[in-house]
């Protein structure tokens, strides 16, 4: 880990005794109190802490839900209603978990776009970034598995459609896709066997997330935080100790985030869900319009934009996989988009593209919507595969400040 001043001073006999045997308090103090943070961090840098909070909320509320939920085909739907109506404070804890998933994704998307804008993926933070992509992937798997559990119509048909993506492997090796899908289902259709295994895996993956998050934070504390200028910390005046400076900023941002979270939980717990999921799963009736949860919509739009089944699946997974290669796709030596006059605009166009794909993903795949989805899908990939590698060949970065301190305090300061 990066070397910095250690101000830890064990007080009292017990902490001194412990410090000589397992200096965990010293390590925590070094990493979360003394740790030098760039003095110019803006509020976009508070989402790491917010995301940690989200993971804790999901695990805590999820463990409670698992005490009352019954992962059986005939009882799953009713047991969720039972939690909402009969279990003490179930009316609070169930929406906390359901809304919490959405809040988690809102925070992670802001966090990812922050990284893309300020070049947080560039050397020496490649591994940190890739761990982040893995976390995003496991989060999506966890969210998808969890959405199955209420066993409503959208749960059931969402699982049917998404697991059927693997049947496209039949186009590579005939029979392989069908075998994989049957194996995932534990039958010839989505059934109770599918529900129980999804419940088991939904309970497992958050702990995998904890492990990945620990590695992500470790890698962050080796490389140090990026900042809006993209410059490294060079002198002591470029940084401030994490506590109380960054911590108090994090706590303020977290409070605002919790207000938004609470507003959804108390006043609009179903706003981010689908009415169809209040109809118990029925294997004989497909809802007229199947839509995934909002946080999957851009990827769903990419899936439907490609007119071939296998091609659509490859494009959808490719849209996530491409993120892992971003550290090497972007050839500019300047980290922050603040000093890249053209990249900045391509970035905002990319952000708009993701929102547009999300909107199109919620609409039926017909006529003009398909054409727009194709145009935006093309730009989605062009941003990574054309803009990132080639823009820096002719883009001249604007004048950068000499140091983080100079950016904050103006020239002449030391």
């Amino acid at each position: 880990m990066s070397s910095h001043e250690d101000t830890y001073e064990p007080k009292g006999r017990v902490s001194k005794w412990m410090d000589e045997r397992l200096p965990i308090a010293r390590m925590m103090h070094g990493q979360f109190v003394d740790f030098p943070t760039p003095r110019n961090l803006n509020y976009l840098w508070t989402f790491g802490g917010i995301l940690t909070f989200c993971l804790v909320v999901q695990i805590a509320s999820g463990i409670v839900l698992a005490m009352h939920y019954i992962p059986a085909e005939s009882m799953a739907f009713d047991s969720v209603q039972h939690i909402k109506r009969d279990v003490n404070y179930g009316w609070l804890i169930q929406p906390l978990h359901a809304v919490g998933a959405s809040m988690f994704f809102i925070a992670v998307y802001i966090h990812i776009f922050r990284g893309l804008y300020y070049g947080s993926y560039k050397e020496p933070r490649e591994v940190l970034w890739i761990l982040g992509v893995l976390i995003f992937l496991v989060m999506m798997a966890t969210g998808f598995l969890g959405y199955t559990l209420p066993w409503g119509q959208m749960s059931f048909w969402g699982v049917t459609v998404i697991t059927n993506l693997f049947s496209s492997l039949d186009e590579v090796i005939p029979g392989l896709g069908t075998a994989v899908v049957t194996w995932l289902w534990g039958g010839y259709s989505v059934s109770g066997a599918t529900l129980t295994r999804f419940f088991s895996l939904h309970y497992l993956l958050p702990f995998v997330l904890c492990g990945l998050v620990a590695l992500h934070i470790w890698a962050l504390h080796v490389a140090g935080q990026n900042n809006p200028t993209g410059l490294d910390i060079k002198t002591k005046s470029d940084s401030l100790p994490m506590s109380p400076y960054a911590v108090s900023k994090d706590l303020f941002a977290l409070s605002v985030f919790i207000m938004l979270f609470a507003w959804f939980v108390f006043f609009a717990p179903d706003y981010l869900g689908h009415a169809d999921n209040y109809i118990p799963a029925n294997a004989l009736v497909t809802p007229a319009h199947i839509v995934p949860e909002w946080y999957f919509l851009p990827f769903y739009a990419i899936l439907r934009a490609i007119p071939s089944k296998l091609g659509g699946v490859i494009a959808m997974f490719g849209a996530i996989a491409v993120l892992a290669f971003v550290p090497w796709l972007d050839t500019s030596r300047v980290r922050s988009a603040r000093y890249r006059p053209y990249f900045k605009w391509f970035f905002w166009l990319f952000a708009f593209t993701c929102l547009a794909l999300g909107y199109l993903g919620s609409l039926p795949a017909e006529g003009i919507y398909v054409m727009w989805a194709r145009i935006f899908t093309a730009y989605y990939f062009a941003f990574f595969l054309l803009v990132m590698p080639f823009l820096s060949l002719w883009e001249t970065p604007t004048q950068m400040p000499g140091s983080i301190s100079e950016a904050v305090l103006g020239k002449g300061s030391k």
Binding site: L165, T182, G186, G187, L284, P307, K309, A365
Partner: protein, 182 residues
């Protein structure tokens, strides 16, 4: 080999044998241990036991369709009219994304009965077209509302993202009015 030119160093030793056999044992044993944990996820004996079902076709009038469950999936059975059969036969195979003749999709002598797994070959939704009021798509067969696949009155894909025709399940006629699926 006793007394030949080869020195002791060239002979495979007991240790060479063990360094090969050890990992080989480990790999085979590992695979054998993992397999039960993989295979437990495949359909269990209960799911396999439900693999066949008998259906009485006598009450199904010409032009009607019924849906029954087989292996947890809907099976569409349509009693086709003469006009529908003729239409299905007159289609040029070269116009089809997944070319298959209508006769290959029905049983000889029972061409009026069309039996299909009612699951869209795109992503597994159930196409509309069984009820009288349903949208049947551009080819008078079935229409999948999820991603817009159109099937004709032989259950063949005509338009949309689905790659294959609706699957014909294995079935036999036990009499003129009774079939066994599976």
């Amino acid at each position: 080999m006793e007394g030949s030119l080869a020195s002791d160093a060239d002979e495979p030793t007991r240790r060479d044998f063990l360094t090969l056999a050890g990992p080989a044992f480990f790999a085979v044993g590992g695979a054998m241990t993992v397999w039960p944990f993989v295979h437990q996820m495949n359909p269990d004996a209960g799911a396999l036991a439900l693999a066949s079902v008998e259906v009485d076709l006598a009450p199904v009038e010409e032009g009607q369709a019924i849906t029954i469950m087989w292996r947890g999936k809907p099976v569409f059975i349509r009693h086709r009219t003469k006009k529908e059969i003729d239409e299905a036969r007159d289609v040029k195979l070269t116009n089809l994304p997944d070319p298959q003749s209508d006769t290959a999709r029905t049983k000889a002598g029972h061409e009026k009965w069309l039996v299909l797994v009612g699951i869209c070959t795109h992503l597994g939704c159930i196409p509309k077209g069984q009820s009288l009021g349903d949208v049947k798509g551009d080819y008078e067969g079935w229409f999948c509302p999820c991603h817009g696949s159109h099937y004709d009155n032989s259950g063949r894909i005509r338009k949309g993202p689905a790659p294959r025709n609706l699957e014909v399940p294995p079935y036999q006629f036990q009499s003129d009015t009774q079939i066994k699926i599976g």
